[in-house]
Structures are given as C-alpha cells and as structure tokens.
Symmetry: C2
Subunit: 154 residues, 2 copies
C-alpha cells in the first residue's frame, strides 16, 4: 500500500504489524511488530522490537511504533496493533497516553496486561492469527534466554 492509503480493517492493520515482526526476524531480532493508526486507518508509525539490533532494552515493538509515530497531542482516537499481547511496560504506555483501542495478533504465546487495559476503558480485540502464534512460539523455543531477557524474567 502507498502512504496515503487507509488500512480500514483489523486484518489490514495487523498485516503492517506482521511485516514489522518479519523484518525484525530477518534482522536476527525478536520477531514482534506493532503499528499505531488513527481511528479511520491512517498509519501514524510502525516498528519492531530492537533489543538485539540496537542493544536497546527500551524498544519493544509497541514503544518503537509509538516513537516512530512522532509527537502527538492526543491518542484517544488511535489504535495500537501489535503481533503479541502487550507486556506491562507496553500496557502502561497504552494506558498513560490514552490509546483508545488495542488489536492483538497473539495472546496465547504470551499474555500481558490486556485485561487491566480493558478494565480501564481500552477496547481490546484479539485475533490469534495461527501464523503469529507459530512465529512467536517457535522463536521462544529456540531462544528462551533472549526471550526471558526481553520480558525481565530471571
């Protein structure tokens, strides 16, 4: 799609996050991607986990997409689309900035703060795309130490 196009459906939005996850995998990184859209489907920014690539522990997929979206005055009408359920760090990002809706590609391989977000008024949609579940579960099986580092599990 070109820059001015609208990503109207959740499936279209999740393709952008998925492409970011696959780009991260191709770079040798942790394969999680995310993208931030306006409510009507305009892409504000997308990104992927950069722990390995940039040695940056602060860049989860969601925080990288948030960064790449640039400075915004309001997030109320935005949608965060992520290939994996947001951890507490990324759930805190969503809550603090009042992002209105989160679309989750996979909440079976990892299950973060999504109920807490729902309790606090964030609309949550779960896709559970078999491609994403395979991508992440295979990555974790092959890289348990790296995965544990990424979510702060000793």
């Amino acid at each position: 799609m070109s820059n001015g196009d609208l990503y109207e459906t959740d499936a279209q939005k999740l393709e952008v996050a998925t492409a970011e996850a696959l780009l991260g995998a191709a770079e040798g990184g942790i394969p999680i991607g995310a993208a931030l859209f306006t409510a009507d489907g305009r892409l504000l920014g997308s990104g992927h986990n950069r722990r390995v690539q940039d040695h940056d522990a602060a860049m989860h997929a969601e925080t990288n997409a948030f960064r790449n979206a640039g400075r915004q005055q309001s997030y109320r009408d935005t949608v965060m689309v992520t290939t994996l359920s947001p951890c507490w760090y990324c759930s805190g990002l969503v809550r603090q900035f009042g992002i209105g809706r989160v679309v989750i590609g996979d909440d079976l391989t990892f299950h973060g703060g999504q109920e807490w977000l729902a309790e606090n008024g964030v609309e949550i949609s779960v896709v559970n795309d078999p491609r994403l579940i395979s991508l992440m579960s295979e990555f974790i099986e092959l890289n348990p130490r790296l995965w544990n580092e990424d979510i702060g599990t000793d």
Copy 2:
C-alpha cells in the same frame, strides 16, 4: 564522583537523577531525570526526558535511564531513582522488568502508578525534595501544553 564510586545513600542516588533533570532543563527539555543503580549503589545508567530534544515521545526519564543501562539479565536487585513519580508507562516498565525498588524525588507535582507498584511488591521510597517540587511545578506552570503532551492528557 568518578565511575567506580558507589552511590550508597538515597540522597546520593537522587543527586544523579537531579543532575539529569537539570541537564534536560538546560537543553530546553522537560526537566525530569532518572538513574538505575545496583542494590549496592553502582550506577548502571542515567537519563532524562528527551521529548523536546529528540522529538521522541517514548523517552521519559525512566525509559531513557533504562535504555542507557544497557541490556541486563535481571533487574530484581536494581533501584530506579526518579525525580518525579513514575507515570503508568514508566510504572509498567518497573513492574515488567521486576525492578525491586523505586526512589521518588517528588510525588506531589505529579502522582503516577506508585501505589500499584507497591501492591505488586516494589519497595517505594518518597523523598519530596523541595528543589524538585519547585523545578517541576514551575515548569508545568510555564509549559502546560508541553506537559500535557508528555503525559498524554488531551
């Protein structure tokens, strides 16, 4: 202090975060600083809010200090020292990575997720340093729009 020195007391640790906040102010940025230490007082990394300087909405003081501390396998015995009570985003960071203790320079000007952290086993210490309360409250009074942008308030 030189690099190998230990910052043993909370007051010494808070001086590092305060110096970061003042550096941010001198750069024309939002004057919030933070630093991550080992339990015995070794500085792992420090940083400050970089919204204005880098046009980076993802770099709050705590996330910048966390980034600058580099990749760590465990945060259980670390202490996050911040000049201002951590917002939900930064509180989520602390919870996800299992940072054991948070020292807060000012929780009067802004009050974030510190009770939620305490409920989840994080040790919280509040200093309420008059210098920091003045620094932040004067900044907010002069820059309400920028401050609201930084905490996602419409």
